[in-house]
Amino acid sequence: MHKILAKKQLSPNVTRLDVLAPRIAEIKQPGQFVIVRAQEGGERIPLTIADADPAKGTIALVIQAVGKSTRELVALEVCDAIRDVSGPLGHPTELIASGRALCIGGGVGTAVVHPIAKALHAKGVQVTSVIGGRAKEWVIFEDDLQKCGDVIVCTDDGSHGRKGFVTDAAKEVLTAGGIDIVYAVGPVPMMRAVANLTRPFGVHTVVSLNPVMVDGTGMCGGCRVEVGGETKFACVDGPEFDGHKVDFDLLADRLQTYREFEQRANACADGQCRIRR
């Protein structure tokens, strides 16, 4: 059992939970994730470790409530507990040791970019972050990223920062030159757009993939993605890959596998099923 020590609403549909998991807090590295199961009978959900406090023994999970299982998770309150937390899983991010990095985060992906930016900054790498959201209230981790370097905020409606997509701002940064590596995490279309943007600049681009997962140990093969024409298991070979080699169409397509099921589950949850806890 993993007690929830803090809970905070970050945006209209994104919640942060600080969860007791001392071993994971002690050893986790940027880019790694955990698989959680809220309660007995619950689904196994992969979530990136957005931050950790080894002294308190907590890890921060940033959850976008999209389906029944994630909604059940964010319905938990401080002092409630998450039944299972397994990890840290996946390979840590390959961090450059010096130079300049551009970190791009879209939506909840910003929570994944944050530990990367933090680790880069700690190494002395110069970090520029470009983050985005639909509108002001959807932008997350702005203050945290500010501590790691420059931050450019983009919103679709211009209610905060610049109006436009993260790719527009990123393009300007790249054009200005001097960027050694790009880290991009967000919705699949955004990562694809970033990979397409950076390709002509010849800048190495790391993306973090979020396919459907079950076990997270390489046992089921459900998380398979194609990178450079080869099938890889994101949970053990990734989750981060060379964005210029990822087959984003396949990733987006396979993410649709359970759409119908999710829609049905959501419809049910909107009705009376919310009591299940």
Binding site: R23, I24, I27, R37, G41, G42, E43, R44, K68, S69, R83, D84, V85, S86, G87, P88, L89, V214, D215, G216, T217, G218, M219, C220, G221, G222, R224, E226, T231, F233, V236, L250, D253, R254, Q256, T257, Y258, F261, E262, A265, R276
Partner: protein, 467 residues
């Protein structure tokens, strides 16, 4: 009763296992075999000729003293039979259900030469279930603690057996399991209708009561590495299974609706997608499901598809039924349940619709040629025989290979070229004090071999710790 002559014994015919009706069971997940009632067990046990040089025992990978426990059953001494059996085999209620008896004990039984062998597997299951239902507690005294700490990695049959044996010897045992529930293939792979989960749960319960500490959600290689464990433990037993699914490497294999059997079965078993309502983890319930392969895993997947409501559940196998590595009983049961066997058929490509959902499996027909290295006749394609099998879900059950997750964090451990851990006779790896067994050593093998490895390694670990 126990003083029948050999001739009288010979006259008793093999008792058949009561089972759920095929049509009915192919729509539910309850156990197919219902188990011998006591009088059938008594009768069947009397068929045993009590051979002096018992061939059956040599056929058993863990050398269970079969004539002894069977004769105790024949005498009606179930508690005695249970004690005898469980002294030889830690999880008889599991092996009694899933061992390929026809290739092992029963395959060697003298009575099988001219007729039907003694139903040793059914008797094993009977005795084990009797013991579970009668709550027989072992009369073994609590062992004196040795003060030695042993880590067991993996909660499958190899790990569970080793943990049980080690705790019996007084060692302080911690078992680490990557998933949220121990049992390994017994809980995520083998379905409820063949091995009810409550049986595995009660075996696990017995271990925890005996003092084994089980920590789930710990992935060795990530949460802790082998070098880290070596600092905290006096010995380690690695039993993390075979793990990684193998795909066919044909076009279309990443279309929506193609599963590795491990994923399909895990969703249904461990994640309980078999519950009609309220399941949180989804699984695609195909109308026409094609399962590629001919082993136990393929049989489990195809019979699961049937139970999830498939109109047509098909096995696609490139050889014939004779070459199938699955247990004979499973192939037989699958046939009874209406599974369609597409034999001498090999997949070439998964065919998808415009939205990349599976809509068929392009196959070609095969014929058997000369025997290959495994002694089985090698299938060869028949020219121009291509056809498309209509289906909306494809399950790939053609094997697994060693998962490198754990071994990658311990480069000094010797592996063979397939990535399996190398051990000596006793089960010790190239690192002193680190032992391994089960599928991670053998490649995909069997439950009983994994249990045998667990037991042997426990003995070797005990000897190592006493040195």
């Amino acid at each position: 009763m126990s003083t029948l002559s050999a001739k009288e014994r010979m006259q008793i015919t093999r008792q058949s296992m009561p089972e759920q009706d095929a049509a009915e069971r192919s729509r539910n997940f309850q156990e197919v075999n219902l188990g011998f009632p006591e009088q059938l067990a008594l009768l069947e046990a009397q068929r045993c000729l009590q051979c002096k040089a018992a061939k059956c025992m040599q056929g058993c990978p863990v050398m269970v003293n079969i004539p002894r426990f069977v004769s105790l059953v024949a005498q009606g001494d179930m508690a005695g039979a249970a004690k005898s059996l469980m002294g030889d085999n830690a999880l008889p209620s599991v092996s009694g259900r899933v061992c390929p008896q026809e290739q092992q004990c029963e395959g060697s039984c003298i009575r099988g030469v001219k007729g039907q062998p003694v139903a040793i597997g059914y008797l094993e299951r009977f005795v084990a279930d009797w013991a579970r239902n009668h709550g027989t507690v072992s009369d073994e005294a609590q062992p004196a603690p040795t003060g030695k700490k042993v880590a067991v990695i993996g909660g499958g049959p190899a790990g569970l057996t080793a943990a049980g044996e080690l705790v019996k010897k007084g060692h302080d045992v911690t078992l680490y399991e990557a998933l949220h529930k121990p049992g390994g293939v017994l809980v995520y792979g083998i379905p409820e209708f063949r091995l009810p989960k409550k049986i595995v749960a009660s075996e696990v319960d017995r271990l925890t009561k005996a003092g084994v500490k089980i920590e789930c959600n710990v992935v060795i290689g990530r949460t802790y590495t082998i070098p880290e464990l070596r600092e905290r433990f006096d010995a380690i037993f690695i039993a993390n299974g075979a793990g990684l699914p193998v795909f066919m490497n044909v076009p279309g294999e990443n279309f929506k609706g193609v599963y590795a059997a491990n994923e399909y079965l895990t969703r249904v078993n461990l994640m309980e997608a078999y519950h009609a309502e309220g399941a949180n983890t989804p699984v695609l319930k195909g109308q026409r499901v094609a399962v590629v392969g001919g082993g136990n895993v393929a049989m489990d997947a195809v019979r699961t598809a049937k139970r999830l409501g498939a109109e047509k559940a098909m096995i696609v196998y490139r050889r014939t039924k004779e070459e199938m590595p699955a247990r004979a009983e499973e192939v037989h049961h699958a046939g009874q349940e209406g599974v369609d066997f597409q034999l001498l058929v090999a997949p070439l490509e998964v065919v998808g619709d415009e939205k990349r959902w599976v809509k068929g499996l392009k196959c070609e027909r095969m014929e058997l040629g000369e025997p290959d290295a495994s002694g089985r006749r090698r299938p060869q394609p028949v020219a121009g025989s291509e056809f498309i099998l209509d289906c909306d879900v494809v399950v790939v059950a053609i094997g697994t290979k060693a998962n490198p997750l754990l071994t990658a964090t311990c480069p000094e451990m010797k592996l063979n070229k397939r990535g399996n851990i190398e051990t000596d006779e006793a089960g010790m790896t190239s690192i002193p004090g680190v032992f391994a067994g089960g599928d991670i050593v053998r490649g995909a093998a069997t439950v009983i071999l994994a249990m045998g490895d667990g037991k042997r390694a426990a003995q070797a670990i005990d000897a190592y710790l006493k040195k």
